[in-house]
Amino acid sequence: MIKSDTIPTKVEISSNTTLSIIRDCFQCGLCTSICPLRKVSKYNPRGIIHSSLLGHSLGNDDLTTCLTCSQCFEECPQEIDFPAFIRESRSKIVLNEENFAHNNIFNLLQIFMAEMTESGMKFSFEGEINSESSIAYFPGCVDLFDQFLNLKTVKFHQIGQSAMNLINKVGIKPNLLSLKCCGHDAYWTGDTELFEKIRKYNEQIIRKAGISTLLVSCAECYYTFEELYKLEGIKIQHISQFIDQHQSKLEFKENLTKVTYHDPCRLGRFMKEYESSRNVLKNTGASLIELANNRKNAICCGVSSWLRCDDQSRAIMLRKLEEATQAVGNDGNLVVGCNKCYAHLNCVLEDKKPQHEYQLKVKELGIFVDELSNKNN
């Protein structure tokens, strides 16, 4: 119950950058009902907007629960960018460290990289590279995931390796850029100062490399470089777009696997790129069966920026696996185009078995295509 004296007399909405985002809301409740978290918790974006407009400050719980998956922004009749509102609010307060999974190690690694003035991440993959090439490739923090997620069945290094194989297979020797982490998590957990630091360094390296296209494997990198970085004249390409573009140069083994595709929020709803991955999968000859909720209605994989991996997020992950199993059965493949979704879904697959019985495989797009494509034609 909001006591009358708590309502601030004059709420300066329009001038306040954060509140102005949600100013147009007419409390219709569509965002709350479409939010994937609402199916598994009492989370109420509309309520949050309502109390914010009344001047109440948001607690740690409200801010860290939101998956920023932008399903509400996609459907909102008043086009209110709730995720952007959450991000702005997060930058106002210091998030409580306990909410970060894996003991906040990945946030620490980002801070570490930001502080190191002169070097980005060192990668070593087999395959030819050419430092003068106009096409650069950046795999993302794959090697760091290997060290700290210690999943038994998954090697994140393979994401980069498969991408390199594919790039070489289509006859290109990419320039393997040594960038720092793209800073997506720092940006989305509200640490804008840290993000700016990383962005400045990365932009400088990318410009100095004199490249025309920057190819990335992870949907989050693709969104960050495209939307948040100022890289005029440089085309940012996601691995799915790259393979789609070079379809003709790849040949595929005879393959009957049933496959279904999960649209990562950053690739789908944020960047409206639904078709590239689907074309690639169809082209491999596998039979692509859509999930019940796909394209713009695809449900988020459950966790974003390593925040709050709890019962609710696992319920969402299990629902995703359930959808996938209904689509392609236990022996099918669920293909994702984002390193993070790949990590989260495989992590829940390795949970103790009484939890669930799902046996289907979750594969990263690059790896799936690399496995199926044979020699370079």
């Binding site: 409740g29 009749p77 008043q78």
Partner: protein, 341 residues
């Protein structure tokens, strides 16, 4: 004596204007895009209480209209080209393939609105999920006595603001004015005929303007349930439909099963307003309805008038009638000025 008026449209507003003008002796050419007059207005007849919906309003307008000598009715006809967009206006009209030029001293735009195509909102699954209808489908069913309600129907949900008050899915950013009253009206009819059925209305704001408020009170008295929340998606369970929404007033369950879901589809501007506007030089509102100057029914081009749902936004029946009359009077006044000179 300049006494030739071109009226575009075939609904209640156009009919009203036509009736007034021909009664005044002005010869009217009525260009009706659809194949019959009052195709949409027909849907607005049945009302539980005639208080809001005057019964047989349409019939009284259509009576003896076509036979009137001053009326030149052209069904299935469109204005295909504007040759002269000032007084005396010259247009090219095509009807069933044959085109003819026509000179008119004044023009009244009364083309009405287009019903929002509910398929555009995938989440509602219209045409795809069995049991999801629009209010007009229901009205059709009422008129053809093929009401899809049987003893198994336990609950019917009306979903309001479908395609209205939204920037998405090609809907109409404004309110379509008629859907609230229309839906409540239908809900009342169902409740009267089948009292045992649980009728629920999912709304954001109930806008039963002026006398229509009676319908809202009547509905609540007869047990229609009103839930404030916009339905986000509808899914098919084995034997019924599941609607997902947030009840913004109560902290309750957000899932409600139903046997029938009726979408209160609003109106969107006709796509050809753009040509009319361009050719005639008539300005449009940001939401692409014909823009009215400070004087009602007057468009930005002298001699061209607009009424009904064509101008400014979708209207309900009483508004269309009054605007039809006003447009007729304005045309007569304009013609009178022209004839003096």
């Amino acid at each position: 004596m300049a006494n030739n008026c071109l009226i575009i449209g075939g609904e209640i507003a156009a009919l009203r204007a036509t009736k007034d003008l021909i009664a005044y002796g002005i010869s009217v050419t009525l260009v009706n895009p659809s194949n019959e007059l009052g195709k949409i207005s027909k849907m607005f007849q049945s009302g539980i209480s005639d208080f809001a919906f005057k019964k047989n309003v349409l019939r009284s307008h259509l009576e003896g209209l076509e036979s009137n000598i001053n009326l030149n009715l052209m069904n299935n006809a469109q204005i295909t080209k504007i040759i002269k967009n000032q007084y005396p206006f010259e247009v090219e009209i095509t009807q069933n393939g044959t085109t003819q030029n026509h000179v008119a001293d004044t023009i009244i735009i009364a083309t009405g609105f287009e019903v929002f195509n509910a398929e555009k909102i995938e989440e509602y699954g219209y045409r795809y999920l069995e049991g999801v209808l629009t209010i007009f489908d229901l009205e059709m069913a009422f008129q053809q006595q093929k009401i899809p309600i049987n003893e198994k129907t336990k609950r019917i949900i009306f979903v309001l603001c479908v395609g209205s008050r939204t920037l998405k899915d090609g809907g109409n950013p404004d309110c379509s004015t008629y859907c609230c009253s229309y839906s409540i009206n239908q809900a009342l009819r169902i409740k009267k005929e089948f009292p045992s059925i649980d009728v629920v209305l999912m709304y954001m704001d109930i806008r039963t303007v002026a006398s229509h408020e009676y319908l809202y009170n009547e509905a609540r008295k007869s047990g229609v349930l009103f839930i404030r929340g916009r339905v986000s998606s509808i899914e098919r369970a084995e034997d019924n439909l599941i609607t997902f929404y947030e009840d913004t007033l109560a902290d309750s369950q957000d899932v409600l099963p139903a046997d029938l879901v009726i979408l209160a589809v609003g109106g969107v501007p006709l796509s050809d307003y753009d040509e009319i506007a361009m050719n005639f030089g008539v300005q449009l509102t940001p939401n692409r309805f014909v823009k009215i100057t400070d004087k009602p029914v007057y468009t930005s081009t002298p001699g061209i008038f607009a009424c009904g749902s064509a101008c400014d936004g979708v209207k309900n029946v009483p508004q269309c009638l009054s605007e039809g009359g006003a447009a007729a009077m304005a045309a007569i006044q304009f013609l009178a000025e022209k004839t003096e000179k």
